[in-house]
Amino acid sequence: MILARVADSFYWMNRYLERVEHTARLLGLQLERLPSSPVQEIANGWRRLFGSLDTHPPGADIYGGPEDEDDFFFADGYTLTDYLTFDTTNPTSIVFCLTAARENARQVRDAISNGIWSSLNRPYLQLRDTDLVDIWPKEPVMLYRGIVEAVQLFDGVCASSMRRDAGWHFMRIGRFIERAQLVSSLLEAHCTNVKDTAEEDGDWAGLLRVCNAFEAYCQLHGAQVGREKALGFLVYDAELSSSLRFAVNQIRSSLEAIDPPVRGRPPVEPYEIVGRLDSAFSQHRVNLTVGGGGWYDLADLVILCRNFHEALERTYIYPTEAQAAS
């Protein structure tokens, strides 16, 4: 038994944290490349980054959107980094998401242990007291590594101390639906923005790195990275924790724990959506090349993730009076 509002906070806390980790990973990789990479690659990196977060650089509305070819050639790395990290008015920035995660944790402060709270509060306080001006000339990459580790520490504290009750499962669902949505839009942004031509290699290794999947990929396929294998790995591999299929499997088992399926009763709406995604992944029915004959394009996956979210809220968080009473 868990309050609907509490379930919602658990869910959102982890959606935001997943986003924090994802953005920190993308930014860390991008900053690593800034000093040495060609302008084209850097511009592509920004484009992929903003595309996957489904947002625009500051001022894009005035100077033209990211679809504008030249937009990121003249982009200033400092400004973009600051915008995606410290801008409290930007709902995709790391500070914004971390603050939102902490605010959700505060809403359920009674339901989480001191250890869990501190593991979230400490990085929040640290980041709040940090400025890009101070770290930019030193080693900004370390900041992002620290953020990723902080989120992993939070996960570890939760995993080692929480009961596997409904609160835990709503956390997991939040974590993995955000992952599925971010990875889907990252793949879409990558495929749209990175040209796979003879001159450019398509940066598939970079994509795997951002997804924390490069080493796993190399173990499985060797260091030869190509489009089909890389995309296939990130979408279909059931054992890879950053793959879409893995995320969907996790969501499904958490849904089963919250609301065990009953024979003869139609599955709840969120479960039904997850089931559709799962069949598409297990049968390899996603179009990873343009004009493929699968069931879904990458863009469709992003939409399905949104549909799932709405269905989840309808079913558990804001049910109609009649549903609630039954």
Binding site: R5, R106, R109, D110, W117, P319, A324
Partner: protein, 529 residues
């Protein structure tokens, strides 16, 4: 949704009776920012200075720690020795560690400024205040007596009204009180426990302990008492063990026991929840803390709904009934149908469920009539009336301006009195005679004459002082003590309390939003070390 920032009355208590002290202007002390280099420098220059080097005794104030210059009271000796053994740097670091642990654990309160709200750590001073078991037992007996009388009084004024009928307490005073709730007349309250949780403020002067006020609505601060204990015990593990400090750790269980005893469905496992105004409330940390301590659900008004005179909470598996609600919302806000219609914090129809006996509330609505500033002066009479006993703890002498003699006395001695508006709280509408200009006093006197029933006055009090760590050394600051009384089938007090400190030099304001801080209070056995 729009949440009204609530100022729970109990959060904004100002010790009203201010005694003028020379040089009483000092900034707020920020505990976290100490100049370490300065400390180091002074240590190189001279032999380590005593922590008490700059400690000033003042004959006007009882000092909790020192008997006379350089002479600790016997029960403080062990603690002082321990602290003197530490270097100034170590003491400073210890203080910083305590403050940091509060920050990381989120033991904060919210302050509302003009533009944005900020979370602040409640400043906690690392030097505990020690009270002897015999001193404590006196306070304990006094508070139990008091809370029993106050509950009998509430049952009487909302019931047959004997005490009003025979004129022991004026009917007009009680029924004209803004916190009197006629809706409560004739309502059956489980166990007659109107006040289940009480936080009374105890001050000490050279004459002994006195009750400055009772908080009978939604008293707060108990979480700071428990968190301070946690942090200070870690800081002085050796001394703590030697003193045999009485434990406060069972407060959560005791409170839960009281809440369970109120359940309308005895014999069944009651469903209990704590209702909070939400994260924007200054005491939110405490609400979450207590819910966790007790393992009960923390709810907001939006989580609850009433159906067929029962209260339910919304869970992911549908509606679940609630039997007992520990409410940390003022009467005004609990039910827009019964009380303030613009409240968005409570639950429509909740009072009907309560009236029907399907729900217990702690505390009951309407308890505010018994902690009214004018009604306060009648508490000793209530004790004699209901219990046929002499009050164990004294009240602060109070003059009611509604009575001609009281008004005359107040006007005559305005310069030496503190005048308070009965309907107000948190120091609003208050005059501190000794601090006011002649002009201010004259303006106030006019108000007094125009609406005498609105005011009471009290003599200036010389609050006791205890040592606090300020800039790496000990200085004397004024303190009070808020113990927490629980009342269900029995009445009990957890041995200790929130010791509040006026951190600003010379100040008697212990309120956390006004530069006040807190200390751990240890109840120790007489012959301990």
């Amino acid at each position: 949704m729009l949440v009204l920032p609530l100022l729970a009355r109990s959060n904004v208590t100002i010790i009203p009776t201010v005694l003028a002290e020379s040089g009483g202007k000092g900034g707020i002390i920020t505990m976290a920012s100490r100049d370490l280099s300065e400390a180091r420098h002074s240590r190189d220059a001279a032999p380590a200075p005593s922590l008490f080097e700059h400690y000033e005794l003042d004959a006007r104030f009882f000092d909790e720690t020192l008997e006379s210059e350089g002479q600790p009271r016997p029960h403080y000796r062990l603690l002082i020795d321990e602290m003197e053994r530490m270097s100034q740097e170590e003491v400073t670091r210890l203080q910083e560690r305590v403050t940091r642990s509060f920050l990381h654990e989120g033991i904060t309160f919210t302050v509302y400024g003009d533009e944005e709200s900020t979370e602040r750590v409640i400043p906690i001073d690392c030097v505990p205040r020690l009270l002897l078991a015999r001193e404590w037992e006196h306070i304990e007996r006094g508070l139990i007596q008091r809370v029993q009388a106050l509950n009998l009084f509430l049952a009487d004024v909302y019931g047959k009204g004997h005490i009003l009928g025979d004129g022991t307490v004026p009917r007009a005073l009680v029924q004209g009180c803004p916190n009197y709730r006629p809706e409560m007349e004739g309502v059956r309250v489980p166990l007659g426990a109107y006040v289940s949780v009480c936080g009374s403020d105890i001050v000490r002067t050279a004459d002994g302990f006195m009750v400055l006020e009772d908080n009978l609505r939604v008293p707060s601060g108990v979480s700071y008492m428990l968190a301070s204990r946690e942090a200070i015990r870690r800081s002085f593990p050796r001394v703590f063990r030697h003193y045999h400090v009485r434990s406060v750790d069972h407060y959560g269980q005791e409170l839960l026991r009281v809440l369970r005893s109120l359940s309308p469905r005895q014999g069944e496992e009651p469903s209990i929840a704590l209702i909070t105004p939400g994260v924007y409330n200054s005491a939110y940390y405490e609400h979450a803390f207590l819910a966790r301590e007790m393992g009960i659900e923390l709810v907001t008004g939006d989580d609850l709904l009433v159906r067929e005179t029962r209260l339910y909470m919304r869970t992911v598996q549908g509606l679940r009934p609630v039997d007992v609600l520990y409410r940390r919302l003022d009467d005004d806000f609990i039910d827009p149908q019964a009380f303030r219609p613009d409240s968005r914090l409570g639950v429509a129809g909740l009072f009907e469920v309560y009236r029907a006996g399907n729900l217990a509330l702690a505390n009951a609505p309407g308890t505010g009539v018994a902690d009214d500033k004018a009604v306060y002066s009648y508490v000793p009479r209530m004790i004699r009336y209901y219990l046929d006993q002499e009050p164990i703890l004294d009240n602060v002498e109070t003059f009611l301006c509604r009575e001609p003699e009281g008004l005359a006395y107040t006007l005559e001695h305005l310069e030496n009195l503190v005048v308070k508006a009965v309907g107000e709280s948190g120091g609003y509408g208050m005059l501190v005679g000794s601090h006011a200009s002649r002009e201010e006093r004259e303006t106030f006197a006019a108000k007094l004459r125009a609406q005498p029933e609105n005011y009471i006055s009290q003599p200036v009090l010389a609050l006791s002082r205890a040592p606090c760590l300020i800039d790496g050394r000990l200085e004397a600051r004024h303190v009070d003590l808020r113990p927490f009384v629980l009342h269900g089938q029995e009445t009990s007090v957890v041995p200790g309390g929130l010791c509040r400190v006026a951190l600003r030099k010379g100040s008697l304001v212990v309120n956390s939003s006004q530069g006040g801080g807190s200390k751990d209070a240890w109840i120790i056995e007489e012959d301990a070390p």
